[in-house]
Amino acid sequence: MLVYFIRRMMQAVLVLFIMSILVFVGVFSIGNPVDILINPQADQEEIARAIRVLGLDKPLWEQYWLFLVNAARGDLGRSFVFNIPAIELILQRMPATMELAICATFMGVLMGIPLGMWAGLKPDSVSGKSIMAGSILGFSLPTFWVGLMLIMIFAVYLGWLPSTGRGQTRNFLGIELSILTWDGIKHMMMPAFNLALFKLSLVIRLARAGTREAILQDYVKFARAKGLRSGRIIGVHVFKNIMIPIVTVLGLELGSTIAFAVVTETVFAWPGMGKLIIDSINLLDRPVIVAYLMIIVFMFIVINLVVDLMYSVLDPRVRIAEARG
């Protein structure tokens, strides 16, 4: 287990290293770094000073080293627009995005697993088929358009839910959270559902396929032969088996949920990192772009790592195989 952990850690560090080179090459070499990193409104003297400070007159490998050292110290430049460190700006916006992504994931799981299991247990029933048709639609619908339609229905025509912002937040352990106030929850509903839609479709498919496969297995028949009630068979024997792929996929998807939050945040004017990056791209606030990319890449690597480890905890077979390997 420990060996496995260490090996996975080393892989993660390697990927981070490669990504840092890519982002560095992308931002510092393809574009003109002077344009990217220095405020275009600065005068000649300021530019010359900034070039010196940032070491842009040094050879490329030395610049990369400087970039790495600065990044390790948490310094990825200052936002032109807000004039605060880019990292700080992103970290300020991060809780909103994380809250949205986590709520969406929970929504996807809490709705998707029962629906998917139902569809898997009754694949030929009308309800089962409708659930599947819904999930196919969920895959095909463009997220942003669904967001607009949600706003149209629930905010414009029915007037039930607010369409922009986080609403009232409450501080919890130093983090502002919407979910702690009723107003916040109302603001959260549409964006979370919008972001959850794709995940929901995915979970339904996974749960349905897993259930259909599991109920044909001998262990389910054996469990029935033991005289267990069907509630326990479905709730424990089938459920635990289908959870493995679902947790893996959802864990891996948490990263993409955060990435796709860009769309939902733009639609619902949700003040998270995603909206920040879009605004930054439109305003050419490049240090923020670089910082966002590095942070999200880092998050991805961490998420992939955690999922792999969780997977090995959940599935005893993998645990042993990996330990031996």
Partner: protein, 307 residues
């Protein structure tokens, strides 16, 4: 799956239906009514996209034809000079139906071009990896794995942040996002095919690498690539629409469906739904029809599912 399965399948297929593989494929495909409907709808969409300038009631980008006084008319309303706007107009008095026709043209054009280029690059990479193996294989597949561990939108975002806007830029971004899927599919299939005896036979005949790869290996790898291709065209269209909606994709001069939807966003809140609604429906119909065709192709071309 064991190595014997395809042979058994082939034998029984030959015994059952004495017809060419292509005709069998066609008849299998049309067995599903849903898929047939999908294909018909997609053909319609394609027709509209190809002939948009001929069938549109109005050239939506000829500014001399637009009248700002016709702006934001509801569906079915009549213009100042007597023309009926079936799906209403946008803020500049542009007929939405015409705008959607032209938007489809752009969306499909970008999606198909990008997917096709990505397929070429990905297939070349996948075949190279599978045929040569060893270090080449490891190197290419590591890149593919790493790229696939990041969501497509993030990669597109990174590229567009670096490259800027434009049709060429978004095509490049879509290619960069998609080539890895093709590479992985091609390599996987090619590896299976490469172990089969006909490749060995071809190599024993001392045919050139080029000939073995292109005349023998590639044609046998095509079915799964075709399936992936349909799905990825739909994905490319959806991703392009999303990026355009975010303002990162196509310039305002060549509005795709995504941009049309984005334009209508402002007016949605005041109840003028049609500017966003109808382009979205067009997008949805396009994507769903492609996906239906893709699903059926996957079932028909999958040897494991053949009777």
């Amino acid at each position: 799956m064991t190595a014997t399965t395809p042979e058994i399948v082939a034998e029984s297929a030959v015994a059952a239906k004495p017809q060419t593989p292509f005709r069998r494929f066609v008849s299998d495909f049309f067995e599903s009514r849903v898929a047939t409907a999908g294909l018909v709808v997609f053909a319609l969409v394609l027709f509209v996209a190809l002939f948009a300038p001929l069938i549109s009631p109005q050239n939506p980008y000829d500014l001399t034809k637009l009248d700002i006084l016709d702006g934001r008319l509801t569906p079915g309303a009549k213009s100042m000079d007597g023309m009926t706007f079936l799906l209403g107009t946008d803020d500049q008095g542009r007929d939405m139906l015409s705008a959607i026709f032209y938007g489809l043209r752009t969306s499909l054009g970008v999606g198909v071009t990008a997917s096709f280029c990505a397929m070429m690059i990905g297939m070349a990479m996948g075949l190279t990896a599978a045929y040569f193996g060893g270090m080449v294989d490891t190197f290419i597949m590591r890149i593919v794995d790493m790229q696939l561990s990041f969501p497509s939108i993030l990669i597109a975002l990174i590229l567009l942040a670096v490259l800027g806007q434009g049709v060429d830029k978004i095509v490049i971004a879509l290619i960069a996002v998609q080539w890895a899927y093709y590479a992985r599919t091609t390599r996987g299939t090619a590896l299976v095919e490469r172990r089969k005896e006909y490749i060995e036979a071809a190599q024993c005949l001392a045919l050139s690498n080029k000939r073995v790869v292109f005349r023998h290996l590639l044609p046998n790898c095509l079915p799964p690539i075709i399936v992936v291709n349909t799905v990825l065209i739909a994905n490319a269209i959806a991703l392009e629409a999303t990026l355009s909606f975010l303002g990162l994709g196509l310039p305002i001069t060549e509005p795709s469906l995504g941009l049309l939807i984005a334009n209508g966003f402002t007016y949605l809140l005041s109840g003028k739904y049609w500017i966003s609604f109808f382009p979205g429906v067009a997008l949805l119909v396009t994507i769903v029809s492609i996906n239906l065709v893709g699903d059926q192709l996957r079932d028909v071309l999958n040897p494991r599912l053949q009777k």
